[in-house]
């Protein structure tokens, strides 16, 4: 599994989180967010305090009960500020 942290999340994410080894009880995207907050509390707090969008394999996913798979690339996106 690959994790991608964009924008300000990228600055707060410890390097080691990019290719994490997850415990068996991390089954869904919601579980993964909780696990990240435990591993990197500052990042977890930033993600909780703002609107965080999640993309799985480069498609936005709104249902965080979606199971995570070993070959997923999962990205966490803070509020966008293009243009």
């Amino acid at each position: 599994m690959q994790l991608v942290f964009l924008g300000k999340f990228g600055e707060l994410a410890p390097k080691g989180l990019a290719s994490p080894t997850l415990p068996d009880d991390v089954r869904t995207l919601a579980d993964l967010k909780d696990w990240i907050a435990g591993q990197a509390p500052v990042l977890g707090k930033a993600m909780a305090l703002t609107t965080t969008r999640v993309a799985v394999n480069r498609a936005l996913v709104h249902d965080l009960s979606r199971p995570v798979r070993a070959d997923d690339e999962i990205a966490f996106l803070p509020p966008m500020s293009g243009g």
Binding site: V4, L6, G7, A55, A75, L77, M80, G82, G83
Partner: protein, 152 residues
């Protein structure tokens, strides 16, 4: 439809000229250029850096543009968006539309800009004498976006 993200500076006026060249079928060209300002809300800005998500940002912007093209019947859209480090005075974004009449072209460019502000996977960091800060979406951009959602 021509949708590009680029780490290299680009000349928005030359791009507009190329976009409109040999298009004597179109009567109206509307374009918007967003420029990197040297100050914002009273703070000096020495530059911007725009983060993107490789393999995702371009396709998302293309989806937003396709949606606007279909909704306003303006298929001829050009979007160029910078990523990476940008200096004051450089163009950050160009959105242009060619159309038979001006009303649809104005609407398409304006709505696409509204979407880019809130829905394009890009993250802007401003650098100034006091350090760097990530830019949060402006309140009025969020409201504009919500209004678009209600129309859709």
């Amino acid at each position: 439809m021509d949708i590009r993200i680029t780490a290299a500076p680009f000349d928005p006026h030359a791009e507009c000229a190329a976009f409109a060249a040999d298009r004597a079928d179109a009567g109206a060209l509307v374009s918007f250029v967003g420029l990197c300002r040297q100050e914002t809300a009273g703070r000096a800005v020495t530059g911007l850096t725009i983060d993107h998500y490789e393999g995702f940002t371009q396709t998302q912007i293309a989806d937003l543009a396709a949606d606007v093209a279909r909704r306003y019947r303006v298929p001829d859209l050009l979007v160029i968006h910078r990523i990476g480090p940008i200096l004051p005075g450089e163009a950050i974004v160009l959105v242009a539309a060619l159309s038979t009449h001006r009303g649809a072209a104005f609407e398409a460019v304006q709505v696409l800009m509204d979407y880019l502000k809130t829905d394009a996977p890009l993250w802007k960091k401003e650098t100034g004498p006091d350090g760097a800060r990530w830019v949060e979406p402006r309140q009025d951009d969020r409201l504009r976006r919500a209004a678009l959602e209600n129309q859709a």
